[in-house]
Amino acid sequence: MRKSMKPSITWRKITESRLFFPIVALSLILIFDFIFIPGFFAIENREGNLHGSLVDILRNGSTVMLLAIGMTLVIATGGVDLSVGATMAIAASVAGILMNPSALKNEVFFVTDPNYTFQPLWLVISSALIVAILCGLWNGVLVAYMRIQPMVATLILMISGRGIAQLITNGLRVQITYRPYAFLGQGWMVLPFSLYLVAFVFAITWFLTRKTAIGMFIESVGTNFRSSYFSGIDEKKIKLLVYTFCGLCAGIAGLVASSNIRTSDANNIGLTTELDAILAVVIGGTAMAGGRFSLLASMVGALVMQAITQSMYAIGVPAFALQAIKAVVVIFVILLYSEQVRGFIRRLSAPKTEV
């Protein structure tokens, strides 16, 4: 009797882990790819760098992964940040215009020199990130101190952000040719360079939330802010912090995205990625109402989102139909999270002992 109990307890531990469902979802998609797309798992070694569909999922998923890190913390406090896509565009515009200010003179100047930049790289990157931090700070002030509902507060920047980005670039698309900048999104060091960026941001965030008290405070504020207030937690500061941090993550994502397409395109960079980021966090099992969060599960969630996109492209779904197909898959994945559906599955799989 006792022997037969043991594996079921381990099994329960696995299924109750926050990573279980995201990983199941990811595995299902990859199994689908394995069966239907020949060569999907092939990995090529080109001059010491790895290439292939799987690597592409990681590389193209890096912007959503970066956003999901910040978004996880925001959602854990019971909020949401709709402005991350716009913040990406703003950061990209700042970076673009500092490298190639020709747009300000109202001319589209195609620089072809891969070594040309107007300002040094460190200034380009730090300015873009500071502006992104200011965007996050703005959201944080509105939510924490002005007590505006997060969805409404961040909607303001979501709408106005692209306008601001266009103002910065004088309404033009700015070409970026500076090669060191292109390395952010296109560079390869065995694996794509953007993955190291993700790993770095992830590690810092993990450290800040799990090796300081910040993570516990975020979860506490998200679960019950009144109890947290009575316990002496400064809920406003926590909220200000997570929105600001989310802005920073969006800024980094914006740099990677613009480096990838070699353009600061105020209209299209990060368009609708806020929704991908939110879905990644939800797939990672963090409740929209706030509370417990898992950064790692959100990363898997981001990969689920990217794997869906990549697979659809690979089996030849046309770009215009992609969103519709993606929605169907997302609905399926989200249904796995519904308590109703889980209960139903449990009842189905339960051994039929009763007669």
Binding site: A213, S220, T223, S227, S228, F230
Partner: protein, 507 residues
């Protein structure tokens, strides 16, 4: 039997248990036609459960309800309404952005050719208000543009319109009304009474009980204490029935208390001077000494919780000052309080106490960590040590320190919150209703704990709706009435003196 003596409602032997609590134990209530019947009792007495049974929100475990001679079993509030039992709740559940007429007739709008007949609707609403309640207002204005009292009237009008109510339940309708508005509501109640409606009126204000009611039923701890003619029971008697007293209980506790009272030094830890908040609590002076338990006595709404709240800094006082060990306090915030050694176990355990998604360990270390700041993080091992220490000390029954606190029973959750505060090593511990809704055994444990904390030299403030509990644990008792500190007693006091002080009548 004259017609006005007819019972329109009889509730007999109603019992209802929730997991861990016997909310109602063999409670009876009769309501006559054209009677205003007050239902009184402290928190947890069972008033609202009794009304929930009547209106079909909860099913009783046993007992029966007889309406107009027929046994009924309301299945839902809607069903109860169709039977003639209507309820107006404390928080008005109407839509402030709809017009008065829409609020009264929503779901019952008159139609003309498939569309709503607005003219008829407004006329109907206006007629209902005038005829039934004698209230004359413009019914096409949004409800939100009227005072809370008028909104109450509209809620009543709606209740009466939908089904001609035989019974109207008013659940603390006056708690947010001023004197003038209350008078207005009372006129309406009298009018309905004369028309033969039976009214069950729940209130915490003793003055109003005597002003309007014909009879009073007192509940305490889920038990029926008695039903009295309002004219034949004095205020003092009524209050002592509500809060209960039993002289036989002074057993072990009084011994511990006597022992510990020897240890009280005259060193004041905390001194409040002219400390108050407009609209919340009148300015008061209060000294808390080392080793002393100060009980706050008073009825619900007398300002007990407000006093606790401003002493802790959860709400900012607007007059007066506090000094802590002779030093004037500058930072009136929960964090400031925790840092100088003041702790508050708040009244509402669910809403302001536990953080239910977090584990027992995290709940225990939360306040301590908050006072240490973001980066001075207690490592896991330290956290487990603290948690295990208090789980053992307070005898918290939990499978492990990693259990989500939401899976614990009420009493154990309360102990977890106590542990959270003890972990901050406070000098002043304010406990607001620490024993509410928990079983008798745990209650006694907590009372003893409070005394032993005092013995360690802490100052404790003990707030409870149960006077006997306050008497048993406190060395000194402060009495509050109508948001004002009215008296202070130290040494051996008999309960009568305190009940008189609470009631506001001369002994």
């Amino acid at each position: 039997m004259s017609e006005s003596d007819q019972n329109i409602l009889m509730m007999e032997g109603i019992s209802k248990a929730f997991p861990g609590v016997q909310a109602l134990d063999n409670v009876s209530l009769t309501l006559k036609k054209g009677e205003i019947h007050c239902l009184v009792g402290e928190n947890g007495a069972g008033k609202s459960t009794l009304m929930k049974v009547l209106t079909g929100v909860d099913r009783p475990d046993s007992g029966r309800v007889i309406l107009d001679g027929k046994e009924i079993q309301a299945k839902s509030p809607q069903h109860a309404q169709s039977l003639g039992i209507s309820t107006v709740y404390q928080e008005i559940n109407l839509c402030p952005n709809l017009t008065v007429a829409e609020n009264i007739l929503i779901g019952h709008e008159p139609h003309k050719m498939g569309r709503i007949d607005w003219t008829k609707m407004n006329a109907l609403a206006s007629d209902t208000l005038q005829r039934l309640l004698g209230v004359d207002i413009e019914v096409d204005k949004p409800l939100g543009s009227y005072t809370v009292a008028i909104q109450q009237m509209v809620a009543i009008a709606r209740a009466l319109y939908i089904a001609s109510a035989k019974i109207l339940i008013l659940d603390e309708p006056t708690s947010s009304l001023d004197v003038h508005e209350t008078a207005q509501l009372f006129r309406v109640m009298s009018k309905l009474k004369n028309e033969g409606v039976g009214i069950i009126f729940i209130t915490h204000f003793m003055g109003q009980v005597y002003e309007i009611s014909d009879r009073i039923t007192v509940l305490r701890n889920g038990k029926w204490v008695g039903t009295y003619e309002t004219a034949s029971i004095s205020r003092v008697e009524l209050i002592s029935k509500m809060i209960g007293r039993s002289l036989a209980e002074f057993d072990e506790m009084s011994k511990i208390k006597l022992e510990s009272s020897k240890l009280i030094t005259k060193a004041a830890i905390l001194q409040a001077r002219e400390f108050g908040l407009t609209g919340s609590i009148q300015p008061f002076d209060l000294d808390l000494h080392e080793g002393e338990v100060v009980g706050l006595a008073g009825l619900l709404g007398s300002g007990r919780t407000e006093t606790a709240s401003i002493l802790f800094g959860a709400e900012k006082a607007d007059t007066g000052s506090i000094s802590m060990r002779g030093k004037l306090v500058q930072d009136y915030s929960p964090l400031g309080s925790i840092k100088r050694g003041v702790a508050l176990c708040p009244e509402d355990r669910k809403a302001a106490g536990i953080v239910d998604d977090l584990t027992v360990r995290e709940n225990i270390v939360l306040a301590m960590q908050a006072s240490k700041g973001w980066f001075n993080y207690l490592n896991l091992q330290e956290q487990y040590e603290i948690a295990e220490k208090y789980i053992k000390l307070l005898n918290i029954s939990t499978p492990s320190a990693d259990q989500s606190v939401k899976n614990l029973s009420g009493g154990n959750q309360q102990k977890v919150i106590l542990a959270r505060w003890l972990a901050t090593n406070p000098q002043v511990l304010i406990l607001d209703e620490p024993t509410r809704g928990i079983d008798v055994g745990t209650k006694a444990e907590i009372q003893k704990l409070v005394l032993s904390l005092a013995e360690e030299g802490k100052a404790c403030v003990f707030i409870s709706s149960e006077l006997e509990e306050v008497l048993r644990t406190s060395h000194r008792i402060v009495v509050l009435r109508e948001r004002e500190k009215v008296a202070e007693f130290s040494g051996e006091v008999d309960e009568n003196t305190i009940i008189h002080a609470i009631a506001g009548s001369e002994a």
